[in-house]
Amino acid sequence: MRTRGLFLFAALAIGYAFLYGPILSLIVYSFNESRLVTVWSRFSFKWYGELFENEQILSSAWLSLKIAALSATGAVVLGTLAAVMLVRFGRFRGRMLFSAMITAPLVMPDVIIGLALLLLFVSLEQWLNWPEGRGMTTIAIAHVTLGMAYATVVVQSRLSQMDASVEEAALDLGARPWKVFLLITLPIISPALAAGWLLAFTLSLDDLVIASFVSGPGSTTLPMVIFSSVRLGVSPQINALATIVVVLVTIGILIAGGITLRAERQRQADRRRAGE
């Protein structure tokens, strides 16, 4: 029994070291003054200063944030509708095809999705003169399609765990279905909506391949800038950028974790009170 415990502990230690070692090394070297990144000279904030003066990175980051917010919102709206269909509508016509179309973008290689959407936009422009050229709109549409798949999965799992009798009670009391959805279902699944939004936002912010296919001249997103600079070799400014991303994500996750924990405690307390 003791060897088993030791083995499991070692598995976790090695696994987490593997996951976090590279990220930690990025952070440490972002404070290194030397341009050689991996040769330590002395502690400095130099690369952070240069990062905030890099017009190209700043403007592409702004574009990426706009696209991410827009596409995450669209993805959550569509994903929620799709989740309602999958959980509440039973065996509707074309369910197999529908659920396959929801699952496929989760795993399908980015190069295929990117190429397919680009060819669609080119064909649409030929037939309908829309979209006129490619850029922010086409990237956002592509990211909605990608994010929708993830948002559906997140909302679907929350919706299927939800106690449907609350909705039935409201319906029995004469509330209209859309009112039940707005006043009862949506508040209950709101944590899943928030999680789905954040997931779609992150995916959009992170996507290089699809955006490269469907973007046009003048619309360069942050991952595209990072990729072209990284392709030329290791760059200390990217280390500084990575550190900022990791810090922001960690803060976000801690806040989200705190909120879920509090909500969970509240729910348990409510349940105890209801039991008394």
Binding site: L12, I14, P22, M101, P105, M108, R231, A242
Partner: protein, 290 residues
């Protein structure tokens, strides 16, 4: 039920227009000729003398993809590296998922959070981190040189090994999460019963735990394998000139070669190759819903 139809309309329309139709267009263009116009391919339909509609299907792109050694090698290398990465993720991820599922209830949440957290940081940046670690002046080579194990820096970066590390590193969370989900749900009294009946822990693990976690193994393996086959960023940044995975090939045909029909044919071939693994994933997902 008009409300139902209203709810269904938008998701169906969106997925139809931006997911289903694009693939039909890819299929169409894969059968076209490359051309020097804008867009750079020919049409499939031609009207001759105002009356006859002629359909021209050009199978040469597929013929080229299926017979040219370059593409066969790229497909084989992609399948090989993706399989190796899947196996490595399984060997590393299974003990991790098992350990998390058997740890105390209070520790599970934070441990799981630590698995998910790297997933939220940029994928591109995580691949980039390995560039710094593996390069000849990087920490690994420093260590090896300092220990006297090697006389000159090993060419770790831009190799097949680096691509493998990158794949395992990027996709490990996708393996751990479904494995954890099945291991956590497992009925532990089965193991107790086996122990009461005199079964040794190791045998009980193979006879009970592994079969019970099988859906997680399949789902996790497919979640790693499918995207890994078509990966572009990892072979491009960590691989060398000889690591030509098919995703990179497609990218080069499209952006460097400007041969859209050829890239479309590569995409269709890759898609056909991945249909079976995708159906397997869909099947396990549907099974989990039931």
């Amino acid at each position: 039920m008009n409300g139902r139809r209203l709810v269904s309309l938008l998701p169906w329309a969106w997925l139809g227009l931006f997911f289903l139709v694009p693939f039909l267009i890819v299929l169409k263009i894969s059968l076209a000729d490359a051309d020097l116009g804008v867009p750079p391919y020919t049409g499939l339909f031609e009207v001759i003398d105002d009356t006859v509609l002629r359909i021209r299907l050009n199978w040469a792109n597929f013929q080229y993809v299926l017979t040219e050694d370059l593409y066969a090698a790229a497909f084989l290398q992609s399948l090989k590296l993706a399989s190796m990465a899947t196996l490595a993720c399984l060997l590393l991820g299974y003990p991790m998922a098992y350990a998390i599922a058997r740890s105390s209830a209070g520790a599970r949440g934070p441990l799981l959070m630590l698995i998910i957290l790297p997933f939220w940081t940029s994928f591109l940046i995580r691949v980039y981190a390995w560039m710094a670690i593996l390069k000849s002046e990087g920490p690994i080579n420093h260590l090896l040189l300092a220990l006297g194990l090697v006389d000159e820096p090993l060419p770790l970066l831009h190799s097949e090994f680096a691509v493998l590390i990158g794949l395992v590193y990027s996709y490990l969370p996708f393996m751990v999460l479904p494995l954890y989900a099945t291991l956590e749900k497992m009925d532990l009294s089965l193991l107790e019963a086996a122990a009461d009946l005199g079964c040794r822990p190791f045998r009980a693990f193979w006879a009970i735990t592994v079969p019970q976690s099988w859906p997680g193994v399949v789902a996790g393996s497919m979640l790693v394998f499918i995207p890994a086959v078509g990966e572009f960023v990892i072979p491009d940044l960590l691989g060398g000139p000889e690591t030509l995975m098919i995703g990179r090939r497609l990218w080069d045909d499209f952006f460097m070669g400007r041969d859209w029909p050829l890239a479309a044919a590569v995409a269709i071939t890759l898609l056909v190759l991945l249909v079976l693994p995708m159906a397997l994933l869909q099947h396990t997902r549907a099974g989990a819903e039931r």
